[in-house]
Every structure is written in structure tokens, then in C-alpha cells.
């Protein structure tokens, strides 16, 4: 047998450390939320806020301060100049709100101003993106819709999938759809609607005793909140690709969680230990090798994208990197220990058994 990162009989006490993990998670989330609150919400890229960005590449190094000064002469409204990609790329991103201006005008102003200070062949305008206010509003809405439907479908899938209760899942979907419909009637903003949908999902999971689903949803919200928070802390912009990254993180984190949960269910069925916390711990340890190898290979490729993929894909790769790390952490330290607090019911699995002459229908799990 080949090389092994995790030795076969590893028995690391993950569940025992869960309070420390909760503390770390909660403080990370709070930090992000505070940052969001202080900055008045996430920093939106032009996809959502509207405006113009121009990507300029120079032949040689140009000081950022000089370019800022040069472009400042144009008096383009809300102009921001920043370096783009690696320093050795000599690339810069100019962003302006450019109200009442056509993109062609902005391009011309930029072109003229740069020609005035640098020679014609010294720079090249590589990219121009302009998003008008109406398109920006539309994109904002479709991004929020995407997040909303992702939460909805994933909630339905996992409640059906983990608990084999498709009827209850359908009931939950109906409850969620109904709740959201009621909220829509009083026309609250879509962002709050998504938040409300998450809360409704959590409450329904808890009320219907869909404990695995509850753990998975908590982990999802955890991962997305931390990623968004880190973006806010680092002052990075949200655009369409970041939404794509967030949805991918949702999928990835759930993927991880499902694999650990599957093992927990298998071990519960196999009566591997009479203590639930012990069962969970064994399951996490058994899947630890896979978790680390997969996260590791995925991180390898995402990091190569982060460092080699260039400026355009950089933030997307960064979001994925954060998401994969947080997603891996959460399926070990968040999703599984949550099961402890809301003991899972696995009735149907017990019925599958050849019904031994046992008095207790349900094993008495000891909560440590």
C-alpha cells in the first residue's frame, strides 16, 4: 500500500474540540459581518453597481501614483486606479462611475489622456467593460435569484437525500415557497428574502427534525458567510464571477459534508459504538484521508489558477481557495458536531434490520 497522509488508526478527537471550533467560526463570521456593517454592505463591482472599467497594459513599469495623477486630470467621476494582476504585468484597472457618458467617450478620454503623457505604443487598452444602471440592477437581481434558488434546491435535496423523507422534503419546499411568497407580498428586498429563506429552512429543518439537513445547511451558511466576510475584510469586489464561485463553494462544501454524513449513517447502522459522539468521531477519522487528499488536490489546481491564471480570474480563484478551505473545515468541525446537539433519528434504517429480539428500538446515544 502506498504512502498515507492519515494513518489507518488515527483517532483524533474532533468532536471534543467542537466548542473551540464554534468559537473560531462564530468570531470569523462576526468579524465579517461587522466589516460588512461598517462598510455599508459588500463592495460591488461594476456588474452590480454599474460603471466603466478599463484595463490598460503598459510596456514598462509605471508608478501607480503617477498614473493616478495623470488620470486624475481627466476628472472622470469617481475614478479609481488600481494595479491589476502581477506587478510584472504592468497592468492597471481604471474604474469610473461615468454617469451620462457613453463607454466610447470614456475610452476616448482615457486614450487621449494617456497619449498625452505616454507614447502611443507604450500602452494598450486591453479591456473595457461598461454596465449601465438598468443592466446592473438586472444582474443584481439574477445573482440574488441564483443564490435563492441554490439555497432552496439544496435544502430540498439534502432533506430528501439524508433523511429519505422526500414527502417531508416536499412539505418543506412548500413551506419555504409559501413563506417566501408571503414575504414577497409585502415586497421586501430580495437580499432579505434570501436571508429569510435561509432562516425558514433552518427552522423547518429543526422543526421537522431533519437533523442531517440542518447540519448541512448550517455548514453552508457558515461557509458562505465566512467567504463573504473575508472578501469584505480584504476590500475585494463582488461581481458575477464571485457569485459563481459562491455557488461552486456551496456545491463543494455540501459534497464534503455528504461524504462525512454518509459514513456517519453507515456507522450508526453498523452500531460501531453506542455513543453518538464516538460514532461521529470515528466517521470523521475514517474519511479524513479522503477529505485531506481531495481538498489537497483541489487546492493544488485552484492555487495554480490563483497564481498563474492572471488578473481576470484572480478573485474568482481566491474565493474558491477560501471556500475550499472553509468548506473542508466546516464539514469536519461544524456540520458533524451539530448532529450531536440535535440527535439524528434513523428510524427507517432500523426497520431494515432483521429485527433481533431487542427490547430497545432505539439505541440510547450518550451525549458524551
Amino acid at each position: 500500500m502506498g504512502f498515507q497522509i492519515v494513518k489507518p488508526n488515527t483517532d483524533y478527537d474532533f468532536v471534543g474540540k467542537r466548542r473551540i471550533a464554534y468559537l473560531i467560526s462564530v468570531s470569523l463570521i462576526l468579524l465579517g459581518l461587522i466589516s460588512l456593517a461598517v462598510k455599508g454592505g459588500p463592495r460591488l463591482g461594476i456588474d452590480f453597481a454599474g460603471g466603466v472599467i478599463i484595463q490598460v497594459k503598459f510596456q514598462e513599469e509605471v508608478e501607480l501614483s503617477r498614473l493616478t495623477a495623470v488620470m486624475g486630470e481627466t476628472e472622470l467621476p469617481g475614478l479609481v486606479v488600481q494595479r491589476f494582476g502581477d506587478r510584472s504585468d504592468y497592468e492597471f484597472l481604471l474604474r469610473t462611475s461615468a454617469e451620462n457618458m457613453t463607454p466610447s467617450e470614456v475610452r476616448e478620454i482615457t486614450d487621449n489622456k494617456l497619449t498625452e503623457h505616454f507614447s502611443q505604443d507604450f500602452f494598450i487598452i486591453q479591456r473595457l467593460e461598461m454596465v449601465g444602471p438598468r443592466v446592473g440592477a438586472d444582474l443584481r437581481e439574477s445573482a440574488l435569484h441564483a443564490l435563492f434558488f441554490a439555497v432552496l434546491f439544496i435544502a430540498i435535496y439534502i432533506s430528501g437525500r439524508f433523511e429519505k423523507k422526500w414527502f417531508v422534503a416536499a412539505f418543506m419546499a412548500a413551506g419555504l415557497a409559501g413563506g417566501v411568497y408571503l414575504l414577497k407580498l409585502i415586497s421586501i428586498p430580495l437580499a432579505f428574502l434570501i436571508f429569510a429563506a435561509m432562516i425558514i429552512t433552518l427552522v423547518l429543518c429543526w422543526y421537522l427534525r431533519l437533523n442531517f439537513a440542518l447540519g448541512a445547511v448550517v455548514a453552508l451558511i457558515h461557509d458562505v458567510l465566512i467567504t463573504v466576510g473575508i472578501f469584505s475584510l480584504l476590500n475585494k469586489e463582488f461581481d458575477l464571477t464571485i457569485i459563481a464561485a459562491l455557488l461552486t463553494i456551496l456545491g463543494y462544501s455540501l459534497n464534503d459534508t455528504i461524504i462525512v454524513f454518509d459514513r456517519i449513517r453507515e456507522n450508526l447502522r453498523g452500531r460501531i459504538s453506542s455513543s453518538l459522539s464516538r460514532t461521529i468521531n470515528i466517521s470523521i477519522n475514517q474519511t479524513l484521508g479522503r477529505t485531506i487528499v481531495t481538498s489537497g488536490t483541489t487546492l493544488l489546481v485552484v492555487l495554480s489558477l490563483l497564481f498563474l491564471g492572471g488578473g481576470i480570474i484572480h478573485d474568482f480563484a481566491f474565493a474558491l481557495t477560501v471556500g475550499i478551505i472553509v468548506g473542508t473545515y466546516s464539514s469536519i468541525y461544524v456540520a458533524s458536531p451539530i448532529l450531536l446537539n440535535f440527535r439524528p433519528v434513523i428510524e427507517e434504517e432500523e426497520e431494515e434490520e432483521p429485527a433481533p429480539a431487542r427490547k430497545k428500538r432505539r439505541p440510547a446515544y450518550q451525549n458524551r
Binding site: 444582474l139 439544496i154 456545491g251 488536490t297 491564471g309
Partner: protein, 532 residues
């Protein structure tokens, strides 16, 4: 087990050959070779972010087209009423409604009859009796006609834009209507985006108007304009090269529009100055002949999109349907104006709602960077897998290569578009695809540790891990489908490659890798240890 392999191996070979057939034409070297005759004529389309180009979303101001039609309708009503000796005064458009005054209220029944008989697309919104015996009419189009007009306007705009782009010469443009009043234009691989946008976006509403020679310019600038006239501006180039905007008063009534233009091309005068020569169809020729014949020694202004280009003096009646637009053009400008006039004017002004322009150099750079990070990321994964799983790692790497081949073949086969996020999706797939094998291998290791024989361990590992893999991948596909539904171009590329990658991994990582192990087992000599 051997019997199983007898049908499994041909399936795999078949899939391999088909995917090669779809993927290989995307390489230019293969495309030109004789092989291409037997291959499907499809390639992996590159998105605008990879090959460079323009993505535009144009908003069409349909209300302006509506107003223009109302104004035209006002003229028609006045003319028609005059034939029946009904005097209709001052038809004008106010708040997107047609307003005019009937001089004598006794004629109301006659006018109403005329309106309901001849102008069926109009409805009277209100009639207001004035103290002096006049009646002010407010009319609007019926809703059905309005919707129809909007629809026609958009259709016409799409057609005109397509005409212009065809004349300008862009390979594989994509022009389509979007929701509401939007038109999406995608032009791959252009060097001068600004010029293309100028050509697409110009309304090119050409009008000939007579100059109001009696008007007092100074008073007109202050706002005192004679009735029936309007103030315009003309760009005049001074000898030193600078331009000034000179006010000029023109008759409001349009003598003729550019709708009769059959051809327009660039020509040069005796000083080598370019101008645009235009020709009219027979109807246009007759109108032009009449207008010029009735207004000899007067100036006729050529107005394009509200800007006065030139005001030549009519020397004589012009028959034959030819005219020229002079002005201070560069050769390119004259050429572009000719293109625009030939292709016809837009039925309503358009404005840019969204523009994304990527230069060809950046597109090339993005491809190189994307490919490089995929190669390096992939190489790291491949090395790791061999190091960590030995023979099994080689199997995983083989099916990984197969997986990527399937993605590319799928992209070509479905005619999907590869974008930069799409490349990222493939890179991410490399990570996700090995996950399926990692799950299986880890399980096999566990079973081996429990003392199972390699054959039994492989059997157990695949059986137990398969369901988990299917389940776990469903969530990624849910996310990808939602992304596809709500995302825009580049993001959709990501959703497509991610979905293809996950689907392909179910086939390669579960089915194909299993077959390879089965082959290994069938040839295995007793006592050989499974390298995993």
C-alpha cells in the same frame, strides 16, 4: 468478470473514438489535414473573453419611434382632412400623444367620421372645446397597434444592425433580441471596437430640410423662433483646424428623408476631400426633383441625427436621384457614413446599456494563462496521485485525461462556448474528478486493511463508494444548473464545463477506472499485490 469486460471495453473504445472525432478538429493542424473529411465539422467555440471582441447590449428607444409615427400620423390627418375641407391646425406630439386643433367645431362629426373610417389605428383620447369655437383633439394609437409598432421597431433595428455589420465585415456576428427592448450584439475578434460601436449605434436618420432664410439668428438663439421653424447647429471647421458650432434656423417640416436611399458610397472631390455620394430610388428621385425644383436659389440643409452637415444652395432642379453629403470627413468617417446610409437608418435611437470589449491580445493572454495554470495544476495532481496511490494513481490519471477529452468533445459536440471561467471550470473538474477515485481508493485501502483479497476489496470499494459519489456530485450539478440559468455568457461557460466535467467523471472515474482494475485482476498472477 471476463464476460463483463467483453462488452465494457468496446463501449469505452467507442466513446473514446467518438470524443476524439469531436475534439480533434479544434486543432488547426488536424483541421486542414485529410482526416477532417471524416470528422464532424465542429470546433470548440471560444468565448469573446478568449478570442477578443465586443459584447453589446443596446437599448432601443421605442418610445421615440412611437413619437415619430405619431408625428407622421399628425401630418397625414391634416392632409387627409384638408381634402375634405376640414381645417386641422398644428398637429404636434405632447406626452406621447398626438394633439391637434379643429378650427370649426361644426365639423366635429365629419372629422370624427374621417378618423374612424381612415385612421383605424388611432383612438380619440379626449376632445376639449375651446372658448373660441375650436376643439382640441388628443389622440393615441390603439394598444394593439402600439405593441405591433414596438415589435416592428425592434425587428427593424435588429435587421438594420445586422445589415450594417455585414457591410462592415465581421465574421460570425451574433445579433439577437433580448427581453423588453434590448438587442444583444456579439462581434468576435475586432481590432477597432470604437468604430464598430459607432457604426452600430448611429441612428443615421437622414433628413433634408430647407433653411429658413428669413429667420433672425440672434433672436432665434435667444429663443424667439418663427413658427414652423426650429433651431439647429452646424459644425464648421475653421481654417486653423478647430471647429465651432454655428446656430442655424431650419424649417421644421422635413422636405425628404433618407428612407429612399438605394446606395451610398465614398467619393472624392477635386481637392481630394472625401464625401458621400447617395442615390435615391424612383420615388425618392421624384420627391427630390420636386423639392429642388420648387426651391431654386434656396439652401437645403442635410441633417443627420439632428446635426446639420452641410447647407448647399440649390442651383437647379436636380433629376436623376443623386445627391452628395459633404462635410469635413476623414476617409474612414466617409466610408462608415456610407455603410450606415446604405444599410438604412435605425427606426429609433439606440443607446449602449452594457458593453464588454476584450482586445485580441488580452484574449490570447487569457488562453495562455488558463492553459498554463491547467497544465501546472494538472501536473501537480498527476504527480501527487502517482506518488500517493502508485498503480491506482496511474489509473486515476488515465481516466482524468479521458475526462478532459470528454469535456472538450462535449463542448464541441453541443456547440457550447469555452470561456475563461470555463477553463477555470475544467481546472476545478481536475480536482473534483480525482475525488471520485480518491473516495474509491481510500475505501479499497480500508477493505484491504480488513484483510480482503484485492479482488474483493476492489469490488467492495467500488460498490460502497459509487452511491456516495453519485450523491455528492448531484449537489455540484444543482449549483451548476442554477448558474447556467441565471448567469451571463462567461459564467455560463463555467457552468457548462463544470457540469460536463462532473457527468464525465461519473463515467470515467467509476466505469472506466473499474474496467482497468478488472483487466488488471484478470491478468494478475497469484500473490501479486495491488499497488494502491
Amino acid at each position: 468478470m471476463k464476460g463483463n469486460l467483453r462488452w465494457k471495453i468496446p463501449i469505452i473504445l467507442l466513446v473514446l473514438i467518438i470524443s476524439l472525432l469531436y475534439f480533434l478538429p479544434s486543432f488547426s493542424g488536424v483541421k486542414d489535414s485529410p482526416l477532417s473529411k471524416i470528422m464532424p465539422d465542429r470546433q470548440v467555440n471560444l468565448g469573446l473573453d478568449l478570442q477578443g471582441g465586443i459584447h453589446l447590449v443596446l437599448g432601443v428607444e421605442v418610445d421615440r419611434a412611437l413619437e415619430r409615427s405619431l408625428s407622421q400620423m399628425g401630418q397625414d390627418i391634416r392632409d387627409e382632412a384638408r381634402l375634405s375641407d376640414i381645417l386641422v391646425l398644428r398637429p404636434r406630439v405632447e406626452n406621447s400623444r398626438l394633439v391637434f386643433t379643429l378650427l370649426q367645431k361644426e365639423q366635429q362629426p365629419e372629422l370624427d367620421q374621417l378618423l374612424s373610417r381612415t385612421f383605424t389605428t388611432m383612438r380619440v383620447v379626449s376632445r376639449q372645446s375651446q372658448e373660441d369655437g375650436r376643439i382640441t383633439y388628443t389622440l393615441d394609437f390603439v394598444q394593439e397597434f402600439k405593441d405591433n409598432l414596438k415589435d416592428m421597431t425592434l425587428e427593424q433595428a435588429v435587421k438594420t444592425i445586422r445589415n450594417r455589420i455585414d457591410q462592415f465585415g465581421v465574421a460570425e456576428p451574433d445579433i439577437r433580441r433580448q427581453q423588453e427592448d434590448r438587442i444583444q450584439v456579439q462581434l468576435p475578434g475586432l481590432d477597432d471596437p470604437q468604430r464598430a460601436i459607432a457604426i452600430i449605434g448611429q441612428t443615421a436618420h437622414l433628413e433634408f430640410k430647407l433653411v429658413d432664410e428669413d429667420a433672425d439668428i440672434d433672436r432665434a438663439v435667444q429663443g424667439v423662433i418663427p413658427p414652423g421653424s426650429r433651431l439647429y447647429h452646424q459644425e464648421i471647421t475653421l481654417p486653423d483646424g478647430s471647429t465651432i458650432s454655428e446656430p442655424i434656423v431650419l424649417r421644421a417640416e422635413t422636405a425628404m428623408t433618407g428612407e429612399y436611399i438605394t446606395n451610398a458610397h465614398t467619393a472624392f472631390d477635386q481637392y481630394g476631400q472625401p464625401y458621400v455620394a447617395i442615390s435615391f430610388d424612383s420615388r425618392g428621385s421624384r420627391i427630390f426633383e420636386r423639392v429642388t425644383g420648387e426651391n431654386i436659389r434656396k439652401r437645403l440643409a442635410i441633417v443627420l441625427d439632428g446635426n446639420v452637415y452641410s447647407t448647399p444652395v440649390i442651383q437647379e432642379r436636380i433629376s436623376g436621384g443623386r445627391a452628395s453629403i459633404t462635410g469635413r470627413f476623414t476617409v474612414d468617417e466617409a466610408h462608415d457614413l456610407a455603410v450606415v446610409l446604405r444599410a438604412g437608418s435605425l427606426p429609433a435611437p439606440v443607446f449602449v446599456m452594457e458593453e464588454r470589449t476584450v482586445g485580441p491580445s488580452l484574449g490570447q493572454e487569457s488562453i495562455e494563462r488558463g492553459v498554463r495554470s491547467a497544465l501546472i495544476g494538472g501536473a501537480l495532481v498527476i504527480i501527487f496521485m502517482i506518488f500517493y496511490y502508485g498503480f491506482a494513481g496511474v489509473v486515476a490519471n488515465t481516466v482524468l485525461a479521458f475526462n478532459i477529452l470528454l469535456i472538450m468533445a462535449g463542448l464541441a459536440g453541443f456547440g457550447a462556448t469555452l470561456t475563461l471561467p470555463g477553463i477555470a471550470g475544467i481546472i476545478l473538474t481536475i480536482g473534483i474528478a480525482v475525488d471520485a477515485n480518491v473516495l474509491i481508493f481510500e475505501r479499497i485501502r480500508e477493505e484491504l486493511r480488513r484483510g480482503l483479497s484485492p479482488r474483493a476489496a476492489i469490488e467492495e470499494g467500488y460498490n460502497r463508494a459509487t452511491l456516495t459519489i453519485l450523491d455528492a456530485n448531484v449537489t455540484t450539478i444543482i449549483a451548476a444548473v442554477i448558474l447556467y440559468q441565471f448567469g451571463t455568457g462567461p459564467i455560463r461557460g463555467f457552468a457548462v464545463t463544470l457540469t460536463l466535467g462532473v457527468l464525465a467523471s461519473m463515467f470515467t472515474a467509476i466505469f472506466v477506472s473499474r474496467v482497468i482494475f478488472d483487466i488488471w485482476i484478470s491478468r494478475r498472477k497469484p500473490g501479486m499485490v495491488l499497488s494502491i
